[in-house]
């Protein structure tokens, strides 16, 4: 994926990260937390142009849930509410024991995709999501066994090195999510995006995730470099400075507008499956 991909007008895959697990309604009351709310958000995002929905599970009070049962409830609700969107489960979970990190992969049916963190990520003042190689390999083995395509979460440039450990075992094309934000993620800057995009393994499809105020500029630059984009309230609570986003759909619609103006057609779920080599 390159600037030539942009010039060629190749379709862009939009992923909607609708809920997450770090913040909740205390930060933005429009953020969906219950399975019904998440399903309604996924439906709206699909209608707006998203072809992948990235899911987390929560308890009734908004707190994190990792069990297969919790993910089953969410994924069933989303499947019932949507037409053809690709379902991607998160396997992230700062401090959660490795046994729980596997659970989102064990729903019936398995998700078509799942996130796979490539290395450590600092949280708050004292936490680190370690994402050891041992855990990465274990999650990846389950994904291979269950025919789940991993999205490799590259929080910084060193995690591109980590992705090379498993790149040969991936079903083509590798799908890498470049993450820009604070802390241990890559510093959000156009040059850093260019550098990372230039050093991706050959044949890679890539996605851009920018946290907070970086969601709009980083994803827009990603469009110009032939990348795909992820938007949603998990990563960004605001539509613009000082103005909370009203919904995930609002953020997807903005991404669609910008991509369309730039000449990138929006990938349908069917096209997204073809681009990503999903069966």
């Amino acid at each position: 994926m390159t600037y030539q991909s942009y010039l060629d007008g190749e379709p862009v895959i939009i992923t909607a990260a609708v809920t997450g697990g770090v913040h909740g309604k205390e930060a933005n009351p429009n953020l969906p937390e219950t399975p019904a709310e998440i399903a309604a958000a996924a439906r709206a995002c699909e209608g707006a142009g998203a072809s992948i929905v990235h899911l987390h599970a929560r308890k009734e009070n908004g707190e994190r849930a990792f069990s297969t049962d919790a993910f089953q409830e969410v994924t069933d609700a989303v499947r019932s509410a949507t037409d053809n969107i690709i379902i991607q489960h998160s396997t992230g979970g700062t401090a959660a024991p490795d046994e729980l990190r596997v659970e989102p992969l064990l729903t019936d049916p398995a998700p078509e995709m799942a996130s796979l963190d490539m290395g450590p990520l600092n949280r708050y003042g004292k936490l680190t999501s370690e994402n050891t190689r041992s855990l990465v390999d274990r999650l990846h083995e389950v994904m291979l066994d269950r025919n789940i395509k991993p999205e490799l979460e590259v929080f910084n440039g060193g995690h591109l090195n980590e992705s090379l450990r498993i790149i040969d075992d991936l079903v083509a094309p590798p799908y890498i999510n470049l993450v820009f934000g604070g802390g241990t993620t890559t510093i959000p800057h156009p040059r850093n995006l260019c550098t990372l995009a230039d050093t991706l393994p050959p044949g890679t499809e890539f996605n851009i995730l920018g946290f907070g105020p970086h969601q709009l500029p980083m994803t827009t630059q990603g469009l110009l470099l032939g990348g795909h984009v992820r938007v949603g309230l998990e990563d960004n609570l605001y539509y613009r400075r000082g103005e909370l986003a009203t919904s995930n759909e609002q953020l997807v619609k903005r991404a669609v507008r910008i991509a369309t103006e730039l000449g990138r057609p929006i990938a349908t779920p069917k096209q997204a499956r073809s681009i990503l080599g999903l069966k």
Binding site: G24, N61, E63
Partner: protein, 73 residues
């Protein structure tokens, strides 16, 4: 050690914020708690507020004197 942070309570309303389900609230910061941080408050997944929460560190000296709605240690 208590089973949860002594600064933690669950409530539905605070100021202009209200919720259908009671949510984690930190009496040290006087604000609702992020869901991920609530796992620290509740000592889940091997996390403990005494070792993993910088907010607890900064406010524990107030426990014996002025923490409304929370137990003392």
């Amino acid at each position: 050690m208590t089973s949860q942070c002594p600064f933690l309570i669950y409530r539905k309303e605070h100021g202009e914020q209200s919720f259908d389900t009671a949510r984690a609230f930190c009496t040290a910061t006087d604000s609702f708690v992020q869901p991920m941080r609530a796992d620290i408050c509740n000592n889940r997944y091997g996390l403990t507020h005494t070792t993993d929460c910088e907010i607890y560190d900064a406010h524990q000296s107030t426990l014996d004197t002025d923490v409304s709605g929370a137990e003392t240690e």
